[in-house]
Amino acid sequence: MSSEPKVLAESRVFEQPFWNTVMEFHPLTASGQTTLPKVLDRMTAHPGAACVLALHCREVVGIATRRDLLQAIAQNSEWFHLQLAQVMTRPVITVPQSDLPTDLPAIPLFLKQFARYQVSHLPVVDERNQLIGLLDETRLLRALPLWCATDGAAKAERSPHSEELRRQHQRAELFAEITLKIRQSLQLKEILQTSVNEVQRLLDADRVLIYQVLPDGTGKPISEAVVAPYQAILGFSFPEEVFPEEYQTLYAQGRVQAITDVHAPDSGLAQCLVEFIEQWGIQSKLIVPIVHPLKPEQSVGNAPLRNHLWGLLIAHQCRGPREWSEFELELMRQLADQISIALSQGQMLEYLEERVRLRTAELTQANRALHREIQDRQQVEAALRQSEEQLRLITNNLPVLIAYVDRQQRYRFNNQTYEHWFGQSPTEIYGQSINAVMGATYYRTIQTYIKTALSGNQVTYESELTLKDGRCHSVSVTYIPHVEATDTAVPQIRGFFALTTDISDRKAIERMKDEFIAVVSHELRTPLTSIHGSLKLMATGRLGHLSTEGQQMLEVADENTDRLVRLVNNVLDLQRIESGEVTMEAQVCDAADLIEQGVEAMRAIAQEHNIELQTQADAISIWADPDYIVQTLTNLIGNAIKFSHPGDVIQLAVRSNFEPILPSHLSDTVLHRHRAVPAMALFCVQDSGQGIPADKLNSVFERFQQVDSSDSRKKGGTGLGLAICRKIVEQHGGQIWAESQLGVGSCFYFTVPLYAAELV
C-alpha cells in the first residue's frame, strides 16, 4: 500500500469538511470523581454515547466505554461505590488535530491506530492538549464510503490521475464496507462468517476460510466461503504435522504467506504438505495471521496482555495459480486486524455475558435466599402476630385487670379491662403513674405493697375499688416482681406484673355465710339455754327423783347439751375472727399474769381430772390483746387436760428472746420468719398425754381436724379450739405449732410480739 502514489493536491478536500461530519464535538464528559451510578445515569440520558471522557481542566485524563462500565459492574459487587477514575482507561490515546490525515491513502493507516491501540474511540485535541472532539471508528467507517461515492469521487473525476484515485476510492470503500459489516455484529460466529463471505467476494477467491489454531497445535476451519464446484474443508481437523510449531511462531510474529503456485519449486512447501493440500484442489493460497490479545480470563492479574496466534485468514485459488497483489495482501492484513478486533470484542462480550450470567445466577441465588429469608421472617412475624393476637385476645377478654408497671411506677401495659372498669383505655393509661391513674388517696393505701413488689417480693392484698359505674368492688391484687438476671450476683427488679381480680361476689357470699352462721349460732343458743338449764336443774334431783335408767338418760342429755353449747360457742368465735369482725386490741401485758389467768380459768376442770398445772414464767411484757391470749391459753390447757391421765402434770411457760426451737415439720419460710422477727415471746403448754402422730402435727390446727375422729365424742371436743388458737396467734403476727412424741406427750408453742421496751 505504501508504494501507492499519494496525490496531496486532490486530498486537501479531505480536510475540514470531512472531519466535521464524522467528529462528535460534544462528547459525554465527566470528572474522574463522578460515581458510577451518576455516570450510568448520564449515559442512559445519552443513549448514543458509546463512552464517557474524564476531563480535568478540559484535558482528557481518561476514557471509559460502555463495555468498561459493564465490566466494572460485572466484576465488582460494590460497583455503586466506584468512581469514574477507578474504571476508566488511562493514559488516553489522543490524536492531535494536526495529525488527522489530509489525503485519502492515509486513511487506512490512520484507521489502523484503532486496531493498534485496541480502541474504538480516539479523542482529538488541540495544540494545548485540550479536547476538541471524539472520533468513533464505526462512525468513521460508515462516513468514508459515503464521502467516496459523492464528493470525493466527483473530485476524482476531475483529477489527471483519475484512474489511480478511482482505485484508491474503491479500495477504501471496500475496506470500509467490509470492516463495517464485520464490526456490525458482536456474535463471534456471525463475525467470522461475514468475514469469509466478504473476503471471498472482494478477492473473487475460490475458497476463503478461517482456520482456528488450538492450544495443542492442531486446528480446524471454523468458517468458510467456498464456490462450486470446490470441496468444502469446514469441519476437517488438520493434524499437527501440517502446521508445525515453528510455523505458529512465525505467524504469531505477523508472517504473511502468499504462494502463487503451490506446485512451483519456489513455493517453499514440503512435498508432503503439497500432497496434503492437493486433495482440496488448492493451486494458490494467501495466508494472513489473526493475532489478538489473550482473553480476559486467560490474563493473570494485572500483567500486560500479550498477543497470541488465534488463527489464520486463508484465501485459496483452485481454478489455477494466482499472483496476489500487494493491495490484496494489505487488504487481507487489515481485514485480519479487523477480525482480531471484532474477535476481541466478541470474546469480551462473551466474557462479559458469561460474567453477567454468573453474576445474574449469583444474584438470582441470593435473591432466592433473600426471598426464602423474607418468607421465613414473614412466617415468623405472622406466627408472632398470631401469638400476640391470641395473647391480646386472652388478656383483653379475661375479667381481671392485667398490667405491667416499671420501676418508676408507670404503667407500661394494661389490658382492655381497664377501660371496662375505669373508662380509661390502655392507650390513655400507658406511661402514666399509678398515682395519677388510681388517685392519690387509693395510692397511699397500696404504696407499701408497691414497695414490696419493687423490692423483689410477691405480695397479695385485698382492697376496694370504685369503678366507673360508681359502685365499690372488692378486689384481690397480686404483684409479681419482674426479676431480670444480670451478670452480677444481684438480680435487677425491672418492675412488676399486677393482677387484679374482682372478688365482690366471693365477699358477698362470705358475708352472707358469716351472717348466717351468726344468726344460726345465736338462735341456737336461746333454746339451748333453756334445754341446758332445764336438764341441769332436773339432774339435781330437786325437782323429783327419776329411775336409774331415767337418771342415766338425763346425764347423757346433759353432757351432750354441754358439748353442743361448746360447739356453738366455738363456731361463733371462729366465724367472728375469720370475718374480721374481731380486732385485736394490743396493749402491754405481763406474760406471766396472762398465764396465771389461763390457769385460774382452767384450775377447776384440772382439779376435776386430778391434773396439776405448773407454771414457769419470766417477767416479760408482751404486746398483745390479753383477752384473746388468755382464750388461747385456756384452749390449749383444756386440750392438754382432755388428753392427760389423772395424776399428770401440765407445764406452762413463757420466755423471751428465744432462739427458734426449729420444729422439724415447719417449712423454711416459717423458720425465716422467726429469724427475721426474733423479738417474740414464746409460750409453751406441755402435757404428758398420749401424743400426736407426726403426720397430724399440722392438720390439728385445721377446723374439725382431730387426731382421732372419735375424740370429739370421747373427749367432748368440738374440733375448733386449735383453729381458733391459730387465728388468734396469726392475728398477733405470731406462729403456732406443736411437737409431740407418741406415748410421751405433746408441747404446743406459740409466739407473740414482745413489747418494744423488752427489746432494748
Binding site: 345465736h522 343458743r525 336461746t526 333454746p527 339451748l528 339455754t529 333453756s530 341446758h532 338449764g533 332445764s534 341441769k536 336443774l537 339435781t540 330437786r542 325437782l543 347439751t561 353449747v565 360457742n569 361463733l572 368465735d573 367472728r576 369482725e581 374481731v582 380486732t583 386490741e585 390483746d625 383477752d627 384473746y628 382464750q631
Partner: protein, 126 residues
C-alpha cells in the same frame, strides 16, 4: 340473809322459767319477769327489784336500749343490771362493760351456779 328480788327481762318464756327456778332452788330469791324491754322498765319502776337480769337480743327495744332507759330513769338508775346474753364475743363483752353494766353472764349459763355468779358480780352473799 334477806331474800332478794330479781327482775328477769327476756322475750323467751322458757329462759324466764329456767332462771326463776334456778334462783329459787339455789338462793331462794324471788323473781319477777318481763317479756320486753318496755315491760321490764315498768316492772322495775313498780317493784324496785334488787337486781335486773337483762337479755340483750330482744325485739323492739333491745337490751342495750333498755339498759340506757333504766340508767336514765331516776327511779331505776340505781338498780344493778346484769346482762344475760348469747353474745359472747370478747369485743361485745368489752362493749357491755363500757356502758356500765354490773356484769355479763353468757348464755347458755349453768343454772346450778347462776345465783352464785350473780351474787359474786353484785357482792352479795348467798
Amino acid at each position: 340473809m334477806p331474800s332478794k328480788c330479781v327482775l328477769v327481762i327476756d322475750d323467751e318464756e322458757s329462759i324466764q322459767k329456767v332462771v326463776r327456778l334456778s334462783l329459787k332452788l339455789e338462793a331462794s330469791w324471788q323473781t319477777i319477769t318481763a317479756s320486753s324491754g318496755q315491760e321490764g322498765i315498768c316492772q322495775a319502776e313498780k317493784h324496785q327489784p334488787d337486781a335486773i337480769l337483762l337479755d340483750v337480743m330482744m325485739p323492739a327495744i333491745d337490751g342495750i336500749a333498755t339498759f340506757e332507759s333504766l340508767h336514765e330513769n331516776s327511779q331505776t338508775q340505781s338498780i344493778p343490771v346484769i346482762l344475760l346474753t348469747a353474745k359472747t364475743g370478747t369485743s361485745e363483752k368489752r362493749l357491755f362493760q363500757k356502758i356500765g353494766v354490773a356484769g355479763v353472764i353468757t348464755k347458755p349459763f349453768n343454772p346450778l351456779t347462776l345465783a352464785s355468779q350473780v351474787a359474786k358480780l353484785l357482792g352479795w352473799s348467798i
